[in-house]
Amino acid sequence: MDKLKIGTCWLDGCSGCHMSLLDIDEGIVAVLNKADIVFGPLVDAQEWPDGVDVALIEGAVSNQDDLKLAQTARAHSKVVVALGDCAVTGNVPSLRNGIPVRKLLERVYVEGATVRPGVPTDGVPTLLKQAEPLHSAIEVDVYVPGCPPKPNSILLVLNELLEGREPDVGSKLRFG
């Protein structure tokens, strides 16, 4: 049997959920016996490949690049997991949501700058009006709250999904 494929990506988050994924320690061996990690910050691939079985998505959807990557991941993956509070609730990135984007950028890059004040436009994706949870942009199949989710929770979810079962996270996980 061909190995399954796992893709991961990191939208507007701090990479803490990916750190927690690495923290499954030797659990990674069992995971990699069943699946390969084919995309994400931990591997070199440049394009989200076809036929991904499990997509782990960290971070809120905050800018045009986040939105595009989330949509690509959704289109080419069987199961999409919202990994961590930013993907599940918007969390810290959503703290900006009460402030209009223009005002926010001016406050940081003009009023807050001591050298070369000016809102950057080259090579940076356009911010969306608000940082939203993943399920406001694409359909999500599994929610794993936590900031970050505990390594054991991630391992449990991965093992269940790789066995073709729906993980029952129910009351095991909390926000924060």
Partner: protein
């Protein structure tokens, strides 16, 4: 002597005293009914709507915390419909303001967070409101963060009924309702506040906290506040 009545909770016959509420009888008999605005030792106001129960013969749901028991009352506490409504209520509480557990002093000790977990709220199905709210840091020892307030009014009742100072009130209506100290005066300038901190201890979330604590560090002594009332009852 108080009149004794018999009621049924989820089919089980339970002896109660007339004048007790459904929630009091349920708690005394280890029957679980969730609640957020209810706190032992304070008057009940039925604000959070988490304790809604089905009472046979009544065509609508009733709040367990404000409904007195009477002979023959039959209560259902955990039908699938109630479970679904509780989940919706919790989700609506979470979208109304900015409850960001990851940066909250009360994370891990928060009643809203714990209720969400207990009820399997792994995500929220409604759009978040993201209101712009203030944080009152004017008091030398305590802080009030409106982002985390659920308007349960425990602080209002604690201050009015136990401390007797009545610093707090809820101003405004509906989605614009806000907790206010002394007719909108900043907390630090409230002349009636005795700085006793019982409101802080009674608060179920991180809306009120002692200054100086970091994320997850603020634990509260809610039982100590409730105990004041029970000790006074003996006098």
């Amino acid at each position: 002597m108080t009149e004794k009545v018999k009621i049924r909770i989820d089919g089980e016959v339970i002896a109660a005293s007339a004048g007790q509420t459904i929630l009091e009888v349920a708690r005394a008999n280890n029957k679980y009914i969730p609640a957020l605005c209810y706190m032992e030792g304070l008057s009940a106001v039925g604000a959070c709507r988490l304790c809604m129960v089905e009472v046979s013969g009544v065509g609508r749901l009733l709040p367990a915390c404000t409904t007195p028991v009477q002979e023959g009352l039959a209560v259902a506490t955990s039908s699938p419909q109630l479970q679904s409504y509780r989940k919706i209520t919790l989700e609506l509480l979470l979208v109304e303001r900015n409850h960001v557990c990851a940066v909250c002093v009360s994370s891990g000790h928060c009643e809203l967070q714990a209720l969400a977990q207990d009820h399997g709220v792994t995500h929220v199905r409604y759009p978040y409101n993201y209101p712009r709210l203030t944080v009152d840091t004017t008091h030398p020892r305590y802080v009030l963060d409106h982002n985390r307030c659920v308007l349960c009014s425990r602080c209002v009742r604690t201050c009015a009924e136990i401390e007797g100072a009545h610093v707090w009130d809820i101003a405004g209506r509906g989605i614009r309702s806000r907790l206010v100290s002394e007719l909108q005066r900043p907390w630090g300038e409230a002349t009636t506040c005795t700085s006793c901190g019982k409101c802080v201890q009674a608060c179920p979330t991180g809306a009120m906290a002692e200054k100086g604590w970091g994320v997850e560090e603020m634990t509260k002594k809610r039982a100590a506040v409730s105990r004041l009332t029970s000790m006074r009852e003996g006098q």
